[in-house]
Every structure is written in structure tokens, then in C-alpha cells.
């Protein structure tokens, strides 16, 4: 570390100019470019969310008509799922820290890594371009036969999703090869940090699940252009088969979203309790376990879709199995706090917020896994509340926690603690105010994707809309804090939090080639003695 401290060279100022960024093969720069793209798309998705909630403030048309509402609802889902939360943690924080965590100079295929970014940008721009043509109103799930009949720009959006899928496959492929072959000497699979275990399981899901989405979307395009009739009942096809193929990808996709978040939580809770993780092997194995079992459970999205009763029962039993490893992880994190020395920095606050919200998301997930209950809850706001608790409460809280935890390392600047805490408080309270009433709305039977609702649901929807503004404010404050820190924050030391993983042994921001001398690993990642 001493060598380049005198020269003041790091991955940001080693080369200058836009071209050096856009053609950079450095995994750290590609991570930063992903961060900018995902950040912008997160704002776009957030604006759609606020439009949505404002419309639902009161019964009857408030600020838009039914057609516009259906489009806003679809864009909120599609932008958030395909462009924010699937690439979010793996592409931003994963690209930046996977090589640093395993003591490597770069990912296995740097050129493929840059190609993934360009493919992702091409897909995203094509998806956003549908906003200016005839938009889409099919819901982010593109269920047939409606997605075949509607006259909106579904083909463009589906091709865009296909292209983003390719980017996701290439990232997953890159990370698996990196984890397998580029670990530093002595870094056995039993000594890699849990964030790397999480990314490894996520990459397995990305490589094995996304191709099936690819062929499903291609068939949907062929359905609209050639009318092939596989998913269209009018020609003898079976719409439920589309749901099978779609959810075969989309349930592993929700684990592509949550597993990296769990990896960050393992890192943050360990560092800020200054205590080794409790049950390293259990957490590593449950990441792999979740990745494996996630391929068996997709049928729980289709309990009332005309799926046979026997298949329903089988899928319900398998869904129960996937609940167990998740519960194990929650218990292990809580046990890590026991007799630790806990420091309430913002990353830790967000991580504790994750534990709180993901616990509620988890128990409601078990409720939805039981077929008897799901018949009433399916496609109501109970399901909307459940997946927002695990996605916003889980993945985005972990993304913010990871962002603040690694901002000193990525930018070399410290953020302002007070403003960051304000953003946490608003996000956390606003989140509960928005989505807890939706559990009640759901059990009262309010269906989802409704532009207009019966008057009896109005008061709870009002509370929910107010809450959504609080979340919006919280995330915007968080974003401003990050940007202000990057431009005018005080310089950050190499190891501001006392972390034990490898990225804290290099300077902040790290040099272009990561490690001056290749580290030799002799012990586990969390050695708090």
C-alpha cells in the first residue's frame, strides 16, 4: 500500500477523460458506471411509484385515466425489476468488491464485463424508448393472451428485457469463473467472505434461470409477430404454460435479488458488531441451498391460475422447504449481535432495518406459501405488501447499507453521518407507513393493479400514499448525501470501520491493480480476536 500512496494514483485518477471510463476494463470503473445507470433508473422507477400512489390517494380518477395508470403500473414494475433490482447489487457492488474480496486483480473476463455493461445499457435504453412510442400496459409479467392482444409496444419491451437478460447471464458467468479460478493463494472456498458466497449463489441462478426467460420472451415475440399459438388459447395453446415458463425464471430471479442483499447484511453486521459471524458454514450453505431449492418452487405464483390441485400441493410443500434456509440466516445474524460491540453507523442502521422488515416479509411469505391462505390472498394487496417488504425492505435497504458501508472505499471520501441517518429514519418509517396498511387492504380483499377501488378501501390507501412520499424523500436525501460526499466529503482512511476483509487492506480508493503484492490468506474472513 505504501508504494502508490506517495504517487496519489488510484483507479479514479489513473486515467482521465470520458473515453478512459467508457472503454475501461477495470472492474471497479465498470462497477461505478453500473452504479450511475442503476441510480438513474431507480429514480425513474421511483417517480412511477409516486405517480402510482398519488393516483391511488382517493377512489376515482385523481391525476390520470385508467389507461395511463395501467402503463405507469407496468413501467414501475418493469423498470424496478429488470433495470434496478436484478442488476443492482451484483453489478454495482459485486463488480467492485468481488475481486477485492478474493484477492484478485480483476474479474476472469474483463472484456466480457465491459460488454455486459454495454448490453445492459442497450437493453435499458430500448426499454425506456417504449415510453415515447406506444408504451406498454401488460404488467411486468407479460401474461398471455393479453400481452398478445394489446396493441402497445410489447415486442420492443420484450426484446429489451431479452437483451438485459443476456447482460445478466454474462455477469453471472463472469462471477462464477472468477470465484472458481482467481482466488488468492490460501483463499479456499471455506475462507471467502460471505458476500462472495452470496454472489456465487446468485451467479448460479443467473446462469441457469435467465436462458429460460430468454426463450419465453422470444416465443412471446414470435407469438405476436407470427401468431404461433403456443401460449394463445385461440389457436390451441395454453396460457398457463407461459406462466410456468415465466415463473421458472422469475422465482429464481427474486432470489437473484435477495441473495446479494443477504451477503451485504452478513458483512455489515459482522463489521459493526466487531465480532466474527455466527455460523459461517450455515450461512454459506443456506445461500447455496436457497439457490438450489429456488428452482423447485415457482408454482406458488400459480395456485389459482388453473394449475392442477396435485401440482399446487407439491409446490406448496417445496415452498415451505425454501423458507427454512432463509429463517436460518435471520437467526445467525441475530446471534452475531450477541455479546458483540455494536456501533450505530448508518450502514448498521440500514442492516438492522433489513432484519426488522425482512422478518415481517418472511413470515408473510410463509402465510402465502400455504395454499389455503393464498386462495384469498392471491393477486391482492397482501401479496403487493409481502414482496415490497422483501424487495424494498430487504434488497433496497441492503443496497443503501452496502452503499454507505463501502462509499469510503469506492470514493475515498466519508459521507456525513447526520444526513445519512435522516435518510434512514425517513425511509424506514415511510416504508412501514406505506406498506403495512397494504397487508390490511389485502386481507380485506382489495385486488392489485386496480386503477379504481371501492370507497371502503380509501382511508388505508391515503395513509399508504403519504408513506410513499416519506420513502421518496428518504431515498432522495440518501442520494444527495452520497453525491455531496463524493464531491466535498473529507478524505476517508483505508479502514474506517475496522473491517477484516481484504478490501480494507488496500487504500481508499484502491489502486488500479488492487493489490501491490498478491495477498496470501492464512485464516477466515472475520478474524475478530
Amino acid at each position: 500500500m505504501a508504494a502508490h500512496v506517495q504517487t496519489g494514483k488510484n483507479y479514479i485518477n489513473e486515467f482521465a477523460g470520458l473515453k478512459s471510463w467508457l472503454c475501461s476494463l477495470d472492474h471497479k470503473r465498470i462497477g461505478v458506471m453500473y452504479a450511475i445507470a442503476v441510480g438513474i433508473f431507480f429514480l425513474v422507477g421511483g417517480i412511477f411509484a409516486l405517480l402510482l400512489r398519488t393516483e391511488l390517494f382517493s377512489a376515482g380518477p385523481t391525476i390520470m385515466g385508467a389507461n395511463t395508470y395501467n402503463q405507469v403500473m407496468t413501467y414501475h414494475g418493469a423498470v424496478m425489476v429488470f433495470m434496478v433490482i436484478i442488476p443492482g447489487i451484483p453489478a454495482v457492488l459485486g463488480n467492485f468488491f468481488l475481486p477485492l474480496h478474493i484477492g484478485a486483480k480483476d474479474v476472469a473476463f474483463p472484456r466480457l464485463n465491459l460488454l455486459s455493461w454495454y448490453v445492459f445499457m442497450a437493453g435499458s435504453i430500448l426499454a425506456i424508448s417504449t415510453l415515447f412510442t406506444s408504451k406498454i400496459d401488460t404488467g411486468w409479467t407479460f401474461y398471455t393472451p393479453y400481452s398478445i392482444r394489446t396493441s402497445t409496444a410489447t415486442v420492443t419491451m420484450v426484446v429489451a428485457a431479452f437483451i438485459m437478460g443476456i447482460s445478466s447471464i454474462l455477469t453471472g458467468l463472469n462471477f462464477i469463473a472468477t470465484t472458481h479460478t482467481l482466488r488468492a493463494p490460501g483463499m479456499t472456498m471455506g475462507r471467502i467472505p460471505l458476500f462472495v458466497w452470496a454472489l456465487y449463489s446468485t451467479s448460479i441462478l443467473q446462469v441457469l434461470a435467465t436462458p429460460v426467460l430468454g426463450i419465453t420472451l422470444l416465443l412471446l415475440v414470435a407469438e405476436r409477430t407470427l401468431g404461433i399459438g403456443i401460449f394463445d388459447a385461440a389457436l390451441g395453446g395454453d396460457p398457463v404454460l407461459f406462466q410456468h415458463f415465466f415463473w421458472f425464471y422469475s422465482h429464481p430471479a427474486v432470489y437473484i435479488m435477495i441473495l446479494p442483499a443477504m451477503g451485504i447484511i452478513s458483512e455489515v453486521i459482522t463489521t459493526f458488531s466487531r465480532k466474527t459471524i455466527f455460523g459461517y458454514t450455515a450461512i454459506a450453505y443456506s445461500s447455496l441451498g436457497i439457490a438450489a431449492v429456488s428452482f423447485f418452487v415457482w408454482g406458488h405464483h400459480m395456485y389459482v391460475s388453473g394449475q392442477s390441485e396435485i401440482a399446487n400441493v407439491i409446490f406448496s410443500a417445496l415452498t415451505i422447504l425454501v423458507g427454512v434456509p432463509t429463517a436460518i440466516k435471520m437467526f445467525n445474524w441475530t446471534a452475531t449481535l450477541y455479546r458483540g460491540s455494536i456501533q450505530f453507523t448508518t450502514p448498521m442502521l440500514y442492516a438492522l432495518g433489513f432484519l426488522f422488515l425482512f422478518a415481517i416479509g418472511g413470515v408473510t411469505g410463509i402465510m402465502l406459501a400455504l395454499i389455503g391462505l393464498d386462495v384469498h390472498f392471491h393477486d391482492t394487496y397482501f401479496v403487493v405488501a409481502h414482496f415490497h417488504y422483501v424487495m424494498v425492505g430487504g434488497v433496497l435497504m441492503a443496497l443503501m447499507s452496502g452503499m454507505f458501508y463501502w462509499l469510503p472505499k469506492m470514493s475515498g471520501k466519508m459521507y456525513q453521518e447526520s444526513w445519512a441517518r435522516i435518510s434512514f429514519v425517513f425511509t424506514f418509517i415511510g416504508f412501514n407507513v406505506t406498506f403495512f396498511p397494504q397487508f390490511i387492504l389485502g386481507s380485506m380483499g382489495m385486488p392489485r393493479r386496480y386503477f379504481d377501488y371501492l370507497p371502503m378501501y380509501e382511508s388505508l390507501n391515503r395513509i399508504s400514499t403519504i408513506g410513499s412520499y416519506m420513502i421518496g424523500f428518504g431515498f432522495v436525501v440518501g442520494l444527495i448525501t452520497v453525491i455531496r460526499a463524493i464531491y466535498s466529503g473529507p478524505p476517508a482512511p483505508a479502514n474506517p470501520w475496522g473491517g477484516k476483509t481484504l478490501e480494507w487492506t488496500v487504500a481508499s480508493p484502491p489502486p488500479h491493480h488492487n493489490f501491490d503484492v498478491e495477498p496470501v490468506i492464512t485464516a477466515g474472513p472475520y478474524e475478530y480476536r
Partner: protein, 313 residues
């Protein structure tokens, strides 16, 4: 059971109008209470640890506890057993939901874009509302005429998708009299949120007499087609525009198309708009939403419906 009464206050599910709804509520309340207990343990434990083990100095020494096999086994095996118990209870409830009693009365349900149609065995048809006897099992045989819909009665805790090209069934036995909401819960396009229906539960005798009376719709055969073919879902008779323009006073007037041309509303314009609706669209109305009725309407049906539209002054 004490926990039942505790949970009853906190469960916000709508009124229990069938025995299955009662069973459903007891499972839901059990899960509510056990979730409350689980969250209290987990989150309470977290808050307790976080407050008790706050960082005192910057050089705190923490014990090196890497794992505890017994504890880890317990908190893996116990949740598994608990979840499997809940799964079996959920399964038995689902079993009751899906076994249709043999003596059930049958009602046929047709879902189409933004309208529910009900048909009884004696040919009685009506839109967006239907009547069932209390205390008698009723079986719904459902299919869709265009895209996916889903028949959902919150007070009965029943839901089943309605799929084009295939029949799906659903059964219930209403125990309470009164009127209950029916929603469509599978996204089906523009007026997905307007696709509501009313389910009236009446005593058996009243149901029998209601079934026997055939209400004669005023306005001749055209009115019947206006209801059966679902025109009512998008075209109103009182002048208010819905998904499509209203029929009131439409005939004989010149109306502006969305491509700016002016067209006189006469027989062949109406005939063309029914058989091939996407050719001309009235200004201000969504394009390519109306399905084509090519081959669904016989010649005299077509003239009857055009006649019906003509005398909507």
C-alpha cells in the same frame, strides 16, 4: 382458545359468509399470532442485543463464537416442523375448498373484457349480478371469451382464474343472506378495476321464484343482444362515454374520427364498426380495444342490434 379471540380483533378479513371462510379465518389467525410471536422473539432479541452490547470503548474485546451446532440444529429443525404443520393445515383447508359436493346447483360464468355474464340451466342470462340460494352448495363453471380473468369473492375466500379455451370450476355454500362483492383479480386491461359483480344470497323459495320469472327486456331482440354480447360493458345508453361512445342519440349524427375525418353514423358505419371495429375509431376513445364480432352475430342479430342502437334517442 384464547389466542383465537385475541387474533379475531386484529384480522381484518371481510365478513365470514361461508363455513370455509370461518376455517380460513382460524388458520389465518393462528398464523397471525405465531408470526407475532416469531417477530417478537427475533426483533425483540435483536433490539435487546443491540442495546445491551452497545460499543463502550473503541477497543472492546468480543468473544470468538464461530458456531454452536446444537443451537443451529434446533433453529433449523423446529421451524421446519412448524412450517410443515402449517402446510398440512393449509392443505386440508385447500382440500375442502376444492372438493365440490355432488348436489351442487350449477351456474355458468363467462368472463370477458370488463363484464361478468351469468347463465342458469334454464337459459336465464344476466350481467354483473347473479342470485344464489342460502345454505345450498353452488358450483360455478367458468370460462373466458378473450383474455385471463379471475373470479374472486372476498367474503367467501374463494378465487379461481377464468381461462379462455378451457373451463375451470369453483364452489361455495353461502350461509349468510345479503349482497357480496365479486372482483376480477387477474389483470385484463383497461377497465380491469371496473369488472365488478354483485352476488345476492336469498332464501331458497325466493331463489326458486326469481329463477322462474323471465324478465322481458324492453326494446326488442336488440336489447337482449346488447346485454348478452357484452356491448353494455363499454357502450352506455344514458349518453355518458365509457370505454366506447354512448349509443344515446348517436344514430344519424356526424361524429369526428380520430384521424380527423367526419363520418355520418348510419347503418353501414354501424355494421362496419361491429364486424371490423379497428377501421374507424371515434376521436378521444382508445384504439384497437373493441373485439371483432365477425362470425359471432347472425344476419338478423346484426340488424336487431343496429335497430336497437337506432332507436336510442
Amino acid at each position: 382458545m384464547w389466542w383465537l379471540s385475541l387474533a379475531k380483533a386484529s384480522s381484518f378479513a371481510p365478513t365470514q359468509a361461508t363455513k370455509i371462510a370461518a376455517e380460513w379465518d382460524s388458520l389465518y389467525q393462528f398464523l397471525l399470532v405465531s408470526s407475532l410471536v416469531a417477530c417478537a422473539l427475533l426483533i425483540g432479541g435483536m433490539i435487546y442485543f443491540v442495546t445491551k452490547y452497545r460499543r463502550k470503548t473503541n477497543h472492546d474485546k468480543t468473544p470468538y463464537i464461530s458456531h454452536n451446532s446444537m443451537l443451529e440444529f434446533i433453529w433449523s429443525f423446529v421451524p421446519l416442523v412448524l412450517f410443515l404443520m402449517m402446510f398440512v393445515w393449509g392443505w386440508s383447508l385447500y382440500y375442502d375448498m376444492r372438493t365440490v359436493p355432488s348436489n351442487a346447483k350449477e351456474v355458468h360464468v363467462y368472463g370477458q373484457q370488463w363484464l361478468w355474464q351469468f347463465e342458469y340451466k334454464n337459459g336465464k342470462k344476466l350481467n354483473n349480478e347473479f342470485v344464489v340460494p342460502v345454505g345450498v352448495p353452488v358450483k360455478l363453471i367458468m370460462t373466458s371469451k378473450d383474455v385471463l380473468h379471475s373470479f374472486y369473492v372476498p367474503s367467501f375466500r374463494i378465487k379461481q382464474d377464468v381461462i379462455p379455451g378451457r373451463y375451470t370450476d369453483l364452489w361455495f355454500q353461502a350461509e349468510k343472506l345479503g349482497e357480496f362483492h365479486v372482483f376480477c383479480t387477474e389483470y385484463c386491461g383497461l377497465d380491469h378495476s371496473k369488472m365488478l359483480a354483485k352476488l345476492k344470497v336469498v332464501p331458497l323459495e325466493e331463489y326458486e321464484t326469481w329463477l322462474a320469472t323471465t324478465t322481458e327486456l324492453t326494446g326488442g331482440p336488440g336489447a337482449q343482444i346488447y346485454n348478452d354480447k357484452g356491448c353494455v360493458a363499454c357502450h352506455s345508453l344514458d349518453g355518458s362515454p365509457k370505454v366506447g361512445p354512448s349509443f344515446k342519440g348517436a344514430f344519424g349524427k356526424n361524429s369526428m374520427m380520430d384521424d380527423g375525418t367526419e363520418v355520418k353514423v348510419d347503418e353501414n358505419y354501424l355494421r362496419e364498426s361491429i364486424v371490423n371495429p379497428n377501421v374507424k375509431t371515434v376521436k378521444g376513445f382508445p384504439k384497437a380495444v373493441m373485439p371483432s364480432f365477425q362470425g359471432q352475430l347472425s344476419e338478423e342479430d346484426l340488424t336487431a342490434i343496429i335497430e336497437f342502437i337506432k332507436n336510442q334517442k
